[in-house]
């Protein structure tokens, strides 16, 4: 079984993304295509704050709802 890690992008321009994802143990930051989350925070607010730093290094910030749908998509700051 191949583990899904690096989605190929279709016609859309490929942009680096970082996801804020609900986990049973908190809210995780996961870079697009990474095999695992880079850090898990106790609250969504903390995770979003952590994600903002990555926006400055060229990542879009995709904030998910607890059901996996998209709450907010913030474009990178450069």
């Amino acid at each position: 079984m191949k583990i899904l890690t690096k989605p190929k992008r279709g016609s859309s321009p490929v942009k680096k993304r970082v996801h804020i994802i609900k986990r049973e143990d908190g809210w995780a930051i996961k870079k697009m295509g990474a095999s695992r989350a880079s850090r898990v925070y106790g609250s969504k607010e903390e995770a979003v704050k952590g994600g903002q730093e990555l926006r400055r290094s060229g990542h879009d910030l995709v904030i998910h709802n607890s059901d996996g749908s998209i709450q907010k998509w913030e474009k990178s700051l450069n």
């Binding site: 079984m1 899904l4 190929k8 986990r23 996961k30 695992r36 607890s66 996996g68």
Partner: protein
């Protein structure tokens, strides 16, 4: 012995509510997990034909599926004068009857009963008292874990972790959202997308991984 039915070994019958309260938070990750693990979700809403008798359609899906997932978490009425829902329990009964009374590959069928809380269903359906059920607390990640672990407990080996499947589902949703928006879909088109169309997009995404 019955004749072998095409796709039987990989088909997974899903018995669940089809309203927005279930579809958006739970059915979408449920379908994604089944496809990720290499199985084929079969569900009453996969086709729509007003000329087809519903119970016959459901019976055929059950008969043609080795695996069945019955989520009974929504059978309870939630407010005064709301009728409790019996369809899910009824379809579970058909599935167990199929397994018990048909001599053929149906004997190898595997059944997963899901509930919100661990012991609640046994009060309403005491015939299940001796049976194992899994619960998800209405949390999508817990649902993914319950389904993934059930397949492993029934012989599936070397599969991604539940956490990995859940995180991939979130990544899929981002791609799904972005691409469908580019194609002109509106939020209401995405929220209650017909199941066959949603399955198509999941398969397309996984194929490109």
């Amino acid at each position: 012995m019955g004749t072998q039915k095409p796709g039987f070994e990989k088909n997974v019958f899903i018995n669940c509510p089809f309203d927005e309260d279930y579809y958006i938070p739970l059915l979408r990750p449920l379908i994604f997990t089944i496809i990720t693990l290499g199985y084929n979700p079969r569900i009453a809403t996969e086709s729509f034909d007003s000329g087809e008798v519903r119970i016959q359609k459901i019976s055929n899906l059950i008969k043609n599926s080795k695996f069945s997932i019955h989520d009974l978490s929504r059978i309870q009425s939630r407010e005064k004068d709301e009728i409790f829902r019996l369809n899910m329990a009824f379809e579970l009964g058909i599935d167990i009857g199929c397994r018990l009374f048909i001599n053929g590959e149906e004997k190898s069928k595997k059944t997963l009963v899901l509930e919100t809380e661990l012991y609640r269903i046994k009060k309403a359906l005491s015939d299940l008292s001796g049976s194992d059920i899994k619960h998800h607390n209405n949390e999508p990640e817990k649902l993914v874990r319950a389904i993934r672990n059930w397949f492993v407990e029934n012989g599936l080996k070397r599969v991604p972790s539940a956490t990995s499947i859940w995180e991939n589902f979130n990544e899929f949703m981002a791609d799904f959202y972005q691409k469908r928006k580019e194609e002109g879909y509106k939020d209401k088109d995405l929220a209650m997308m017909p199941v066959p169309e949603f399955i198509h997009f999941i398969k397309e995404w996984i194929k490109n991984v």
